[in-house]
Symmetry: C2
Subunit: 242 residues, 2 copies
């Protein structure tokens, strides 16, 4: 093992004020800062870091390959991303070999879904790696609705909009409280699943939770059929009142 | 409405370093600080706040009534707690009437289970109240295991140990990733449910996540049958690898 260390740092949901004290301190002292982004975009994690990074810092953007035309089930999708994560691992290990640390910025919490996990499993066997947990996007989303997500004995299920419609509908019907993430292109499918599960009327849509562009509304009031990938849909639990 | 305002502030899981920047700032400037505790104890939320509070601050401990002998299903349990939350509400409103703010310290995230919700629903109609979300105990727990909780399409269910054994077992069998909270006295029941669902061997127990006394082990290696109420049991998801 080399002496350099990797930090996987949760940046929280978007508002820099919702970063943890530890994340804030690590960022300010970071020399090598890596983050994912789409080609030509700043990237959400980098945006949250804002002006906290040192001007002399070495920024290492990790640009996703373009896979929008490839279905998730196609082996080509898997291969393209797998190769990408291998390249990212090499880039980070190159820095580590020089006995320098690398701070990897992660949206939300590093271990809760998200791309970082694919780097983590590659880096973990060969280098020291420390995780700083972060506030999740869903916490910011339910806070934005001004209603508690779960009470008493409520069961909370967290679902990805990428699941098949019938699987989604079954979960939605059986659960007390619901969080649905990865909405974006799956928006209409998720709405149909909520309808057939009888949960559509009590669902909320939160776009860009905790950011300046935050938008909170009941799902039935949504006029636009296009929502950001980072949107979150919530159905609140109705647990034991005291 | 009075001019005073209530802040429901998420204190995070235990390590003060995992508090958000916003929570930290509000605490340092707080004049009236309220928090739940058991009689004769400091209280977890107050412990996290540590030395951040002003020495001249007005501390308002809200002491739970003793209900350990009363089963949850007994109406007396409900009545005792209901009366307690009514009293707490009055105490806080008394301060608000003097046009002063009250900062209510909450373990973890204010809207994610927890006692604060019962005050929130009483205070919300009659006063201004701002919620500062916090890092959850479960985030600290899965971070402590050094393994991601959920990947790709994993469904994550969050269960309370207070649920009946057969209900727990059914959820455990059907889910990808699992978080089980409120363990304490329910420890043996939760273990039996995990056994019958075939998830016992892959479960982890995290006691006092992110605190000095943090203890992480596979559930099957746990030698002591008594675990703290704030323990969390985790079964990691096995979602799509790339």
């Amino acid at each position: 093992m080399s002496k350099g260390k990797v930090y996987g740092v949760g940046m929280g949901p978007g508002d820099p004020d919702l970063m943890t004290i530890r994340a804030h301190r690590i960022l300010r002292n970071a020399r090598n800062i890596a983050y994912f982004r789409k080609a030509g975009r700043t990237g959400r994690a980098r945006t949250i870091a804002g002006h906290l990074l040192s001007r002399n810092g070495n920024e290492i953007p990790l640009e996703y390959p373009v896979t929008t035309e490839i279905p998730l089930s196609d082996p080509k999708y898997h291969d393209a991303l797998s190769e990408f994560y291998e390249q990212c691992t090499k880039i980070i290990l190159d820095v580590i070999q020089r006995n320098e640390d690398v701070v990897l910025l992660c949206e939300g919490d590093p271990f809760f879904y998200g791309s970082f996990i694919h780097l983590y499993v590659r880096l973990k066997p060969v280098t020291m790696i420390e995780i700083v947990p972060g506030l999740t996007g869903m916490s910011a989303a339910w806070t934005a609705t001004e209603k508690p997500i779960s009470w008493g004995n409520d069961v909370l299920r967290i679902l990805m909009g990428t699941l098949p419609e019938d699987v989604l509908a079954q979960h939605m019907q059986d659960s007390d409280a619901l969080v649905i993430m990865k909405i974006g292109q799956n928006f209409k499918k998720v709405c149909r699943a909520l309808e057939s599960a009888g949960r559509y009327q009590s669902a909320w849509l939160i776009e860009n939770a905790s950011m300046a562009e935050q938008n909170v509304q009941r799902l039935r009031d949504v006029a636009h059929p296009v929502v950001p990938y980072f949107s979150i849909i919530i159905v609140h639990g109705q647990g034991r009142r005291i």
